[in-house]
Structures are given as C-alpha cells and as structure tokens.
C-alpha cells in the first residue's frame, strides 16, 4: 500500500507538469517541455549551488588552515537547516495537512500512518535536494582544500540525517500551525505573522553571519567567532566524527523524526477532519452598492490573495524584502553615503551611482513579486464562473493585474519613500525612485497574467502547486529577475563611467516599452486565450 501511495504522489507531482488533452485526460510531459523544465531547474541549481560554493571556498580557505573545521561545518549545518526549514514550512503544511485528497484517502481502507508516510517521503525528496545545494558544495570544498577524511565522512553523515531533523521541525511547526489555526477565526493572518517572524529570524542570523565573516577573516577573528557561537560550535563536531556528538546526532535525528511521525500519524485524522470550534459569523444585512464588473473582479482577487497565507508568503516575498531593506537603510544609510563620498574623491560620480543603483536594487526586489503569475491557475474548478459571466477575457486579466498592482504598489511606494529619506536622494533622482519600482511592479503584474494565461495549471491538490510549483511562476520569477538584473548591471556600468542619470532614464524607458508591449499582448492574445479555456 505504501508503495502505491508513494507512486501516486510521485505521479501526481510529475503529471502536474504535463498538459491536458482535449478530452480532459492528462497527457505525459512532451520532450521539448521536459527539456525546458530541465534547463530551468538546472539554471536554479547552478545559481544556488554556485552561491554556496563561493561561500564555502571563502570560509574553507580560512577555517581549515586555522583548524576550525568544527565551526566551518556548524555554519553550513545551520544554513542548510534554515534553508530547508524556511522553504519547507509551507510545503510541509500544505502537503501533510491541506491536501484536497485527504478525505478521499481516509475514506478508503488505508491506514493514516501510510498516508502520512507517503507524503513524508515526497517531502524528504525536496528536503534532500535543498540540503544537497548547501551541504554538497560545503563537503566538496572541504575535501578540495585539504580537509580531513573524517570530516568528509562526517559531512556525508550530516547530509544524510539533517534533512530528517529539518523535516521534523517543519512538520512540528506545520502541526502547531494546523492545530492553532483551527482555533483562530483569522488563521491566514496568524499563519502569515508566524511565518514572517521565522523568515525574519533566518535573515537576522544570516546577516549576522555575513557581517562576522566579512570582518577580518583571520584565524584570531574566527576563534573569537567560535567562542561567540558556544553551543552552535559543538554542533560542528558532529561533522568531524566526534565520538559522542556524532552518534547522538544520528540517534536524535532518526529518533525524533520517528517520534514526530508517530505523533502526526496518531492525530492525523482529527487534524485533517476537524472543523474547529470557531464561532459562527452573524449576518447583519447591510446595503450593497452597485459597482462595475472590473471592480467586482478586482475585489474578488484581493480577497483571494488575503485569504491565503501560502499565497501571501510565496508570491509577495519581494515586497517584504523591499520594505526590510528600506528600514535597514534608514538606520545604516549613513555608511552608504560615506561610501559614495569616498567614490567621489576618486573622481567617480559616487552619489549618482548610489542613487541610480538604489533605485535599480529596489526594482530588483520589487520584481520578486508573482501574485498575478498564479492568479489565472487559481481559478481552478471555479473557472466556470468567469467563463459563464458576461465579462471579457480582457476585463478578467485586467482585474488580476490591477489586484497585483494594488497589493504590491503600496509597499513599493513606501520602500521608495523610506529609501529616499535614508539616502537623502537628490531631487533629480527622486522621480526614478518612485517610478522605477512602480513600473517594475506593473511589468511584473502584466507579465504574470500573460504567462499564467499561456501556462495555466487548473488542476491541483493544494494551492501551493500553482503558486510555487508551476511553470508559470517559475518562468515569471526567472525572466523578471534576469530583466531587472540586466538593468542593474547596466546601471552599475554606466554609473562608473559617469552616466548615472542617463542610466536611470534608460532604465525607465526600457520598463515603459516592455510594459506597453506586454499590455498589448495581454489585451489581445492572452484575452482571447482566456475566452477559449474549457471549463
């Protein structure tokens, strides 16, 4: 039975990448699509693995000669754990507790622990992949730079058992959220706040780590860092085959995971079938005013977004980062201004470069918002509603785009204003700080609608699938990052040669041109395609 269930989960994951035949049945992934997926996933792997390899090379070259192998592994274990945990929170909760086929499977003669085990297995695959991105570069660099064979073996042990521990913690978190959210009327707000708190914690740790690491990378400084780490330093000894801590780590990882699995299996039925004891909303008749169809659809899209913590946290992360960056700049903007002054002494337009790059960076963060990239897919089984109503595809897509702009526009504007204050931006650059991120926000909104109409995913077991694991979101994410990164690089190069203002103008013009072209596509080809969707 377990084999059947695991096979089912894997087939669901793979078939969700494929298309749909005209008779409604699934068709297998075509070879060109398979190649496209391969290239895209390879790209992501190369980017992340490259980033962690560079980090590992930098650290290993200093820490191994200083004999700080423990510290080296401890830091990578923590990063790896946090990466798995942060990316796995929503995945774990949606896979374990929010799947649409929960009731169907529970109505069959299948033991709940088998259902849980099949889902845990799929989650573990994701966790091992994420762990591999961090730990394999760590082990490879350690081996390449003369690390001890014991450390290499220990690193492999960590790679094998850390995902189990991380999955247990994220499952426990998901379990806690699932239970608590049953007790709260506004459980979306509850889940969102808790999750943002965890993400903030991760970034506080990460920035502290980077700050510590960018100081003098001398053995003495590293020794001080190790002393600061205390217990965390001991963690690293697990990877260097400590006679006590390594077996303890293995036993704890396996034992706690098994305990958590038993606990979740035991209470699985009550968690996924309990409606909770939420007080009923009392209806008080209020006068309903007539509005336009586009207003109604936009309002519906806003309700859709704010009703789901998965949607908020996965598709609007760029907004959270942008606001965080601006707040940080308010407190440490002085250092950047000092840096600009130093550049100016060398004959470079330091302030121009700072202003132009600031606007480009804000736009880059703004491009990490993919609300509209899943909004067509999220119509799902309700697609019959817009398709039977007297509303054109153009109006539906416009509403989805407007909702994205409304949600993203306000934090974007706030970030721009904060950054203008923090950096004391010169008047001639202020317009770019306001317009560039807002235009990026509009480009992202329209592009998301266009791509999602081209690659919709109407059938899904839980909403995380169209939001996180769809081709549409992936393409939008990569294309927008590339687009904004190219503008940022261009801005940097032009700023260095004294053309900062011109680079800002060109960036603005480029975004306007792209926005116009995408809007044309959305109102013509995409709108026609939406009107032809079968429901």
């Amino acid at each position: 039975m377990i084999k059947t269930l695991i096979g089912l989960r894997l087939r669901q994951t793979l078939s969700s990448l494929g298309g749909k035949k005209k008779d409604g049945t699934r068709k297998p992934l075509s070879v060109p699509k398979l190649i496209l997926y391969g290239i895209l996933y390879l790209y992501v792997i190369v980017v992340f693995a490259g980033m962690f390899t560079l980090m590992a090379l930098g650290m290993a070259s200093v820490m191994i000669p200083a004999g700080l192998d423990n510290l080296y592994f401890a830091l990578f274990m923590l990063i790896s754990f946090m990466v798995i945990f942060v990316f796995g929170i929503f995945e774990t909760k949606s896979h374990l507790f929010d799947c649409k086929d929960n009731e169907l499977l529970l109505s069959m003669p299948i033991k709940p622990e088998h259902i849980v085990l099949s889902r845990v297995f799929t989650l573990l695959i994701y966790n091992y992949l994420e762990c591999a991105l961090v730990m394999l570069p760590c082990i490879a660099c350690y081996a390449a730079l003369g690390g001890s064979p014991l450390g290499i073996i220990g690193g492999v042990i960590v790679f094998l058992f850390l995902p189990l521990l991380a999955l247990t913690v994220s499952a426990a978190f998901g379990y806690l959220v699932a239970i608590l959210s049953k007790k709260f009327k506004r459980n979306t707000l509850f889940t969102t706040v808790i999750s943002i708190a965890f993400i903030a914690l991760y970034f506080v740790f990460y920035s502290w780590l980077m700050e510590s690491g960018t100081e003098d990378m001398t053995p003495e400084a590293m020794g001080e860092l190790a002393a600061k780490l205390g217990f965390i330093g001991i963690l690293g000894s697990v990877a260097t085959l400590h006679p006590f801590y390594t077996p303890l780590f293995v036993i704890l990882s396996a034992g706690i995971s098994f305990g958590a699995y038993m606990l979740i299996s035991h209470s699985y039925v009550s968690i996924v079938t309990s409606g909770g004891k939420v007080k009923k909303n009392k209806y008080r008749a209020e006068r309903l005013e007539k509005r336009s169809a586009v207003y109604a659809f936009t309002k519906k899209e806003l309700s859709r977004f704010f009703s789901s913590s998965t949607y908020i946290l996965n598709s609007a992360m760029g907004l959270i980062f942008a606001v965080m960056l601006s707040v940080v700049a308010l407190f440490s903007g002085g250092e950047l201004i000092l840096f600009a002054e130093m550049l100016s002494l060398d004959g470079i337009d330091g302030f121009g470069a700072l202003y132009a790059l600031g606007a480009a960076l804000l736009s880059l963060l703004g491009s990490m918002t993919y609300i509209s990239a899943a909004s067509v897919s999220l119509e799902g089984k309700s697609l019959w509603i817009p398709r039977t109503m007297p509303i054109s595809g153009r109006e539906v897509l416009l509403s989805k785009t407007l909702a994205h702009i409304i949600i993203a526009g306000i934090p974007t504007l706030l970030s721009s204003v904060l950054l203008i204050i923090a950096l004391g931006v010169a008047p001639e650059y202020m317009a770019f700080y306001i317009l560039s991120p807002l235009l990026t926000c509009a480009v992202s909104a329209v592009f998301g609608s266009v791509i999602n109409t081209a690659f919709p995913k109407f059938e899904f077991k839980n909403e995380a699938e169209p939001i996180k694991q769809s081709l549409s979101t992936f393409l939008v994410m990569m294309a927008l990052l590339l687009f904004e990164a190219l503008i940022a690089v261009g801005t940097f190069i032009m700023s260095v040669i004294g053309l900062a203002l011109l680079s800002a103008v060109l960036g603005l013009v480029l975004r306007i041109v792209v926005l116009c072209a995408l809007t044309f596509v959305m109102f013509t080809a995409s709108a026609r395609k939406f009107e032809r969707f079968s429901a």
Partner: protein, 237 residues
C-alpha cells in the same frame, strides 16, 4: 429562447454529442434526460460557450459563438457541482455576481433578502463558502442565478444535494420564472421530477437525440420511466 442547430462535439475520436438540434420557447421548462455519459452536460456547457463545438447555438436570437458576452447576459448557469469562490462569504459572492451582471443597488438588496429568506440561507450569508455544505452551495448558486433576472436558466442536475423543502421551493421558482416569460433548460436523472415539472422533454442516448417533444406526446399513456428504459434499450445506468 434557445435554439440548438446541429450541435456536434468530439473529444478526440469520441463523439460526445452528435448533430443535436432542439428549440426551447419562452415560458417552457425543458427537461433533458439520458444515461451517464450520454452528452447532457456537454450540451449544456456548449450552450454556455464553456467548450468549443460545431453547429450553431442561439440564446434569445444571439449567437453564442459570435457574440458570447451578449448571450451570457441573457443566461444563468448552475453546474452539477457548484464550485464557488470558497474564500468569499455567501453575501460577498452574491454582491460580486450582482456587480458583474450590473444589477441595480435597489434590486440586489431586495432580491438577495427575498431569495435567501425563501431558501433559508439568510443566517449563513456571512459565513465563508468554504464552510457551506453541498446543499448550501447549491442554494447560493440558485440565488445567484435568479439574482440578475436572466431570460434563460440552464441547470445541470439542480436537485442534487437539496433538501426536500428546498427542492420544492426550487420547483416553485422554476414555475414562477416561466410564468413570467423566462425559460428553463435542465438535466436530471430524477424522472418523477421531470415528469411532473417539464413542459417538454428531450432524451439523449450516446450523444444522439432519441426523442423530443411535449411531455404528453413523448410518454403517451406510459410513465416517463417506462419510456426512458424502452428507448434506451434497458441499458440505462
């Protein structure tokens, strides 16, 4: 009110509906019956423009394919399984529907209060649709269909999930709608209901129209069930 001319719908090699033609006039309740997979839902979906098809369909003289927006203004549709926007409350969903169909402020407030009260849904209107049972969702879909005074209402298995009282009220509403000049086209497996409710009936088998006409003409002295089983050669599911 509804004219279907030579409707054909193929899914690959399989012909779901084969050259089907029928006409529904003003004030008629038209029942559509057939075995599972006979092509009922496909026909109803084609009338709403939800799927591509060959042939022509006119709603109140408006071509569904050439002028979809205009034809949709005149029709309301209730699918067999009303998957509504679960994140909205009942009242917000009705307000949304009223906005899209341009229902005036005055009219929407009166109609929502009237139909919600009639179907016993008023107390649940503030609840999210995700908390609704199948029957409650069906009631909400019925209110939303009647809300914008469509000329034609198309329903796929509308009585499934409704309690006896709500089913009775729906039948009453269908009669009232047709008495006011509207028309209703609905599919059902409940032959007793079809026999008592419909002015006209169409029986479909393997995508082909087997018989259509006035209820009395179709069934003669037999019951509708007997006619249905005889026409389908006893292999109806």
């Amino acid at each position: 009110m509804l004219k279907i001319e030579n409707l054909t719908k193929k899914y690959g090699e399989k012909c779901a509906v084969d050259n089907l033609s029928l006409e529904i006039k003003e004030g008629e309740i038209y029942g559509f019956i057939g075995h599972n997979g006979a092509g009922k839902t496909t026909t109803l979906k084609a009338c709403m423009g939800l799927i591509s098809f060959d042939g022509e369909i006119y709603v109140d003289g408006v071509n569904v394919r050439e002028n979809p927006i205009e034809s949709k203004r005149r029709v309301a549709y209730i699918p067999d399984n009303p998957d509504l926007y679960e994140f909205l409350s009942g009242i917000k969903y009705l307000d949304f529907v009223a906005d899209v169909y341009g229902v005036s402020t005055e009219e929407r407030n009166i109609k929502i209060a009237f139909y919600a009260d009639k179907l016993g849904l008023t107390g649940d209107l503030a609840e999210p649709i995700s908390a609704y049972s199948h029957g409650m969702k069906q009631k909400l879909a019925i209110i939303s269909a009647w809300l914008h005074s469509p000329k034609l209402i198309i329903m796929d298995e509308p009585f499934v999930g409704l309690d006896p009282k709500a089913a009775f009220i729906l039948k009453e509403m269908m009669h009232e709608h047709c008495a006011e000049g509207g028309s209703i086209f609905f599919s059902t497996h409940v032959l007793d209901v079809a026999e008592k409710l419909c002015d006209k009936i169409a029986i479909i088998k393997d995508g082909k129209l087997v018989i259509t006409g006035d209820m009395e003409t179709v069934k003669g002295d037999d019951s509708l069930e007997e006619v249905f089983l005889e026409l389908l050669g006893g292999d109806a599911e």
